[in-house]
C-alpha cells in the first residue's frame, strides 16, 4: 500500500483531518488536489468545472433545489450543490434561476449538472489520494 497522500502532499493537507480536506475539495473545485500537491490536475479540474458551470449559467440553466413531489429534483439538487461554493455564490447573486423558455435551458442544465457531478467525483478522488488508495 503506498504512503497516504504521497510525498507531494502539502503541510496543510497533512494537518487537516480527512473530512475537512474533502469538504474543501467540494467547496472549491480542484482545491483538494492542490492541497495534495497535484497542481496540474488541480488546475485542469478547476478550469473544466468552472467553464462547465459558467456556460451552464450563460445558457440560462437552472440551479435546481428540491421540489416536493418531484423525486428527480432531489437528485438534480444534489448534483447542482456538488458545484460547491460556485453554487452558493450564484444563488446569492440570483443567477441560475433558469428560463424554461430559453433555447439553451436544457443544455444549461446539462452543463450545470455535469460540472457538479464531476466536482463530487473529485471529492472521492481526493479521499482516495489522501488515504493512499491512489498513489498519483
Amino acid at each position: 500500500m503506498p504512503e497516504a497522500g504521497g510525498p507531494r502532499e502539502t503541510r496543510l493537507a497533512q494537518r487537516l483531518p480527512l473530512p475537512v480536506l474533502m469538504l474543501l475539495a467540494w467547496l472549491v473545485p480542484g482545491l483538494g488536489h492542490l492541497l495534495l500537491g497535484r497542481r496540474l490536475r488541480a488546475a485542469v479540474f478547476c478550469v473544466v468545472i468552472l467553464v462547465g458551470f459558467v456556460v451552464g449559467l450563460v445558457l440560462d440553466g437552472e440551479l435546481m433545489l428540491p421540489h416536493a413531489g418531484d423525486p428527480l429534483s432531489y437528485l438534480a439538487a444534489i448534483a447542482n450543490i456538488g458545484n460547491g461554493v460556485l453554487f452558493f455564490v450564484a444563488r446569492h447573486f440570483d443567477l441560475g434561476q433558469g428560463a424554461v423558455t430559453a433555447p439553451g435551458y436544457e443544455f444549461g442544465n446539462t452543463f450545470l449538472l455535469t460540472a457538479g457531478m464531476m466536482n463530487l467525483l473529485l471529492v472521492l478522488d481526493t479521499h482516495d489520494i489522501a488515504v493512499g488508495k491512489k498513489d498519483w
Binding site: 496540474l40 490536475r41 485542469v44 479540474f45 473544466v48 468545472i49 467553464v51 462547465g52 456556460v55 450563460v58 445558457l59 433555447p103 439553451g104 443544455f107 446539462t110 452543463f111 455535469t114 460540472a115 464531476m118 467525483l121 473529485l122 478522488d125 498519483w136
Partner: protein
C-alpha cells in the same frame, strides 16, 4: 449565448473527456488516448442515438 446543438454537445463532450482523462489516466500518452476515445464515443454515440430514435414519434 446562441450556439447550435452540435457545438454545445461537442463542448460538453470536450469537458467530460478532459476531466476523465486526467482523473483516470496517469501519463500523457494514456491521457491523449483516453481523451480521444471518450470524446469520440460521446459525439458518435449521441449522433447514433439520435438517428436510432428518429423513427419514433414525439410525445
Amino acid at each position: 449565448m446562441t450556439l447550435d446543438h452540435l457545438t454545445l454537445m461537442g463542448l460538453d463532450a470536450l469537458l467530460i473527456a478532459v476531466f476523465f482523462s486526467f482523473l483516470w489516466k496517469r501519463d500523457r500518452r494514456e491521457r491523449w488516448h483516453h481523451f480521444w476515445k471518450v470524446f469520440a464515443a460521446l459525439l458518435v454515440g449521441a449522433v447514433a442515438l439520435g438517428w436510432l430514435m428518429y423513427p419514433f414519434p414525439r410525445g
